[in-house]
Symmetry: C2
Subunit: 501 residues, 2 copies
C-alpha cells in the first residue's frame, strides 16, 4: 500500500532476534509427538491441562521484582500504557501459583494440573540453548501427603517409557530436602528453633554440596573444608568444617547402597539425632513403600541422598530422572546421558499472594534434553515423511493431476501436485527429493491416452534422482512401474508400504 | 529464601494482565483436538509445519515500524540490551515472510508450510476477544499458479468437514482482487498505466465496498454516491460516483447467481473492457475447473464477487469459509454464523527483505470462532472426562489404594487416588463430583477382609452426590455395586462404557 511513499526505506534483516531459532517440519512433528505421549500419561494420572497466557504482570511473576528502572534479571519485560510492568513467563510454575491463588475457591483440592508450552529467558544463549524453549510440567497443589510425591515419581517412570526410553535405561533418583536440613543440623549450621542463625555459613556448605554432580566428592570435600582452587586458579572459600563433620556429610551423600531398604536404614542411622532429618527418612520410606505397592521397585526408582537439585526452593522430597545409557561427550569420552527431568515438593507456592501456605509437589520435563536423548537412542526417525508428488508433464492437464491427488488424499495418503514451474522436469524431481517424497506419479500424454500412469519409488531412487534431468532417463530407473490409472491409489499405497517395511 | 527480609512487601495481585485469560481442562483439550484435526488435513495436503519464535525484531515484523520513541500501534514491543526493538508476533504471516527471506535458498520451491500458535495484539480486549489468541495458517509460497489457490479452497472445505462441520453447513466463497481492480478501472478510479493516480478517491470507493457485509447494499450505495449518515448522526463523505456507475458496481458485487458457470459468464460480461478484470475472471474460471476436477462443486465452493476481505493486502484470488447454519444473536434474532476462515493471494511477502517479488497464497483459520461454531453445533462435549477416583477409607492402607490405581492406569483407564485429607468422606465425593469422575472406588476394612470393592457409577449418581456425607448413605445409592477385588479393572471398564453409551 504505502509502497510508493517508502521507496528509500532500508531493507530489514531477515533474521530472528539473537538467541532465538525456527523449527522446521520434522522437528516440530517430533516434539509434538513426544509432548502428546507425555501429556497422555499425565492425563491418565488424573492431571488436567492448564494453559496460561505467555504474559504475566511482573508483580505476579515475583522473584524478578524491578528495583531499578527496568527489570532485567533474566526476563523479557516491558511497561504497558499504564506504566505497569509486564513480562513473558520464565517458567510454568510461577503462572500456576498466580492461577491457584486466583481460582483457589473454584479449583478442586488437590488440584492436579499439567502445562506445556514455551517459556522465555532473557539470558545469553549458547550452543543448543535458546532464549525460548519448551517446558512440560505436572504439579499437585494443595496436599501435604508424600503419596503425591510418590505418584509423580511413578508417573515420571511411565512417561519415560511412553516416549521410548526402555526400562533399564533410566533411573528415578529420590532424596529429601529434610535430610539436607538434618545434615546441617548435625554439623551445627542449622538451629531448628531459629533457622535464620548461621544462614551465611550454611549457604557456603549447601552450595558446596550442590556442586557434587559437577565437582565430584573430592571437590565438595575441599569446599566443605578450607576451600578449593579451580583450574583457572580462582580460589573459593570453604565452609571450614572439620574433617569429622566433612566425612560425615560425605557419608550421608554417599549412603546409597544395594537396596532402597538398606539405604534407608543407613540414613536412619545418620539422622537419628535430628527430628527434621528423621522425618525426611520416614517420608522416603513411605515413598518407597507406596511405589512398591504400585509395582515400581528399585530397578526404576532409587533413594539417593546425593540428589540435591538446587538450593532454597524445595522443602521436602526431591526427584530426578536420569538416563543411564552412555553417550560420547564432545571430547569422545563415554559418559551417562544424565538428567532429563526433575522436581520436588515446595510449599511456598501461593503464600506470596494470599499469606496462606499451600503444599505442592511437581515435576518438569526438560523437553529438549529428552528429545536429544530419543535421537541418541534412535527412537526418532528424524526424516519427516514427505508427500507423494504428482508431477506435471502437461500443464494444460492440471485438472487431471488434481483429480489424482484428490483421490490419494481422500484415501488418507499425503500427496500434492507439483505447483512450481513445470517446464524443467528435473526441478520437479529435485523438489520431490527435497521433500523426502516416497513416490512420484508421472503421467505424460502417452500414458494418458493409454489409461496408465508411471509410479516411481523415490526411496529407492533417491540417491540417483538429483542427477536426473529428463523424463527419459528417469523412466530408465529400475524402481519405476506402469500401473493402470484406476489402480493408482492401491499401487501407491503398496509402494509406500514397501518403502516403510 | 528471602522470606525474612521482605516481611513488609505488599502482596501481589493474583490476576493475569488485563485482556488475557487462562484456559482450563476441557477448553485446552478441545482446542488441541481441533487443531490436531486441522493440521492433519494440512499435513495430508503436503504442508510442513514451521514453528517460529514468539518474538521477532520490530524491523522484521514490518508494518509497525517505530516512528516515535516506542512502537505502540497494536503490538507488544520493548527494547533489548542493545536498544534494538523486539516485539511479540501479531500474526503468523509476518514471521513466514522473515523465514522465507532468510532460508529461501534452502527451502523447497514452492514452500508449503503450516503454522499453529498464539499471536499477541496490544489492543483493547472485549467480550470474547483477548490480547492473546490462536491462529492456524497454511500458505504456499513461491508459485503464481492459481492451482495453489484452488488447492487451499479444497483444503479449507476438507478442514471444516474434518473438525465436524457437515457439508451443507458451510460454503467457501471465492472472489478475485483483480475484479475489484477491474471495477475501479471501469468507474475511472484506476488508471492501469499509473496506479498512483486517483489513489485517494479509489480509497473512498474501496472502503465503501469493503463495508458491504456490515452496512448492506443500501449503505454501500450511499457511500459510493454522496455519503452516509450513520445511526449516531456522523456523516461519512461518499465517493461521488454517479448512479450509473454506482449501479454497475452493485451489479458486479451482486453478480453471484445459481451456478458458478453463470456467475462467471456474468462477470466476464461486466469485465470485458478491463484487462486486469478479465484476467481475474479467467483465474476464477480456472479455480472452478480445478476444484471440479477434485470433486468440489458449487455445493461447497461458490464464486461470489461480494467477498472483499479487507483492502490493500491481497493481489489475486481471495477466499472465505462461511458457516451457513443459523444461530441466535445477542438480541435473539436469527442470523448465519458467518466467517470462520479466510485468505487469499498476496505477492509482496518477501519483497521488503530481498527486493524480489515472491508470489504466495494462504489461509488463516479463526481458531476461537471455529471452536465457538463447533460448540454451537453440539460437536464438542465440553465436559472433560474426569478420572476414576479411588477413595481413601483408611489412610494406613494408602499402598493398597495405590495398587488399585496402578492396575487401572496400566489398563489405560484415567484414575487417581484421592490425595486430599481423607477424614471427611463427603469431601472425597465432592472432589469426585468436581472432577466429573465417572466412577468412584471404595474399599473399607470390611471390604478388604472380604476381598471385594464397591464401585459407584457417579454419572448416574452425580445429582445426588453433592449431598451425601457418609459412607452409609452413599452405599444406599442404587448405582453402586460390590465386585470381587480381582475384577476391579474389568468392572470399572464396564461401568465407564455404560456411562459413555
Amino acid at each position: 500500500m504505502a509502497k510508493n511513499k517508502k521507496q528509500k526505506v532500508k531493507r530489514p534483516k531477515a533474521l530472528p532476534p539473537r538467541g532465538f531459532r525456527d523449527y522446521f517440519g520434522a522437528e516440530v512433528v517430533e516434539r509434538n509427538a513426544m509432548l502428546d505421549k507425555i501429556t497422555d500419561v499425565y492425563q491418565r494420572y488424573g492431571f488436567d491441562p492448564l494453559e496460561t497466557p505467555a504474559i504475566e504482570t511482573v508483580e505476579a511473576l515475583g522473584s524478578f521484582l524491578p528495583d531499578v528502572d527496568r527489570p532485567n534479571a533474566g526476563i523479557f519485560a516491558w511497561q504497558d500504557e499504564d506504566n505497569a510492568w509486564m513480562a513473558l513467563r520464565y517458567d510454568l510454575t510461577a503462572p500456576l501459583a498466580r492461577v491457584y491463588a486466583q481460582f483457589r475457591n473454584d479449583l478442586p483440592t488437590p488440584y492436579r494440573r499439567y502445562a506445556v508450552g514455551p517459556v522465555w529467558r532473557n539470558e545469553k544463549a549458547g550452543p543448543g540453548r535458546y532464549r525460548q524453549f519448551y517446558q512440560c510440567d505436572a504439579d499437585t497443589v494443595g496436599t501435604p501427603t508424600v503419596a503425591a510425591d510418590a505418584e509423580i515419581c511413578a508417573m515420571l517412570a511411565d512417561t519415560l517409557e511412553a516416549v521410548g526410553i526402555p526400562r533399564g535405561d533410566y533411573m528415578i533418583r529420590v532424596n529429601n530436602r529434610k535430610i539436607l536440613d538434618g545434615m546441617m543440623e548435625y554439623v551445627g549450621l542449622l538451629a531448628p528453633d531459629d533457622p535464620s542463625k548461621f544462614a551465611t555459613e550454611r549457604g557456603v556448605a549447601m552450595r558446596a554440596i550442590d556442586k557434587l554432580d559437577r565437582l565430584g566428592v573430592k571437590g565438595v570435600e575441599q569446599l566443605l573444608a578450607k576451600g578449593r582452587k579451580d583450574s583457572s586458579g580462582d580460589f573459593t572459600e570453604g565452609a571450614n568444617l572439620n574433617s569429622i563433620m566433612n566425612e560425615w556429610i560425605l557419608g550421608v551423600l554417599g549412603a546409597k547402597t544395594e537396596s532402597n531398604e538398606l539405604t534407608i536404614s543407613r540414613l536412619r542411622f545418620y539422622m537419628e539425632d535430628s527430628i527434621i532429618g528423621s522425618e525426611g527418612v520416614d517420608e522416603l520410606e513411605e515413598i518407597v513403600d507406596l511405589l512398591k505397592a504400585q509395582g515400581y521397585g528399585e530397578e526404576r526408582i532409587v533413594i539417593d541422598p546425593s540428589v540435591v537439585r538446587g538450593l532454597g526452593y524445595y522443602t521436602g522430597p526431591v526427584y530426578e530422572a536420569e538416563l543411564t545409557f552412555e553417550i560420547l561427550d564432545d571430547k569422545g569420552r563415554k559418559r551417562q546421558f544424565g538428567s532429563v527431568a526433575g522436581g520436588g515438593r515446595y510449599d511456598d507456592l501461593v503464600k506470596r499472594f494470599t499469606g496462606q501456605e499451600v503444599p505442592a509437589t511437581g515435576v518438569s520435563v526438560g523437553v529438549d534434553r529428552l528429545l536429544a536423548a530419543l535421537r541418541e537412542k534412535g527412537r526418532i526417525d528424524s526424516q519427516a515423511k514427505g508427500p507423494v508428488i504428482v508431477t506435471v508433464m502437461d500443464r494444460d492437464r492440471m485438472g487431471d493431476y488434481q483429480t489424482m491427488v484428490a483421490e490419494l488424499r481422500n484415501a488418507g495418503i499425503r500427496a500434492e501436485v507439483y505447483l512450481g514451474n513445470p517446464k524443467n522436469f528435473g526441478n520437479q524431481l529435485k523438489y520431490a527429493d527435497a521433500r523426502n517424497s516416497p513416490v512420484a506419479v508421472i503421467e505424460g500424454g502417452n500414458e494418458f491416452e493409454a489409461g496408465v500412469v508411471q509410479i516411481k519409488d523415490l526411496a529407492l531412487g533417491a540417491a540417483l534422482a538429483a542427477n536426473i534431468a529428463t523424463n527419459e532417463e528417469w523412466k530408465a530407473q529400475p524402481a519405476q512401474m506402469e500401473v493402470a490409472r484406476g489402480d493408482l491409489v492401491a499401487e501407491v499405497r503398496k509402494m509406500i508400504a514397501r518403502a516403510d517395511g
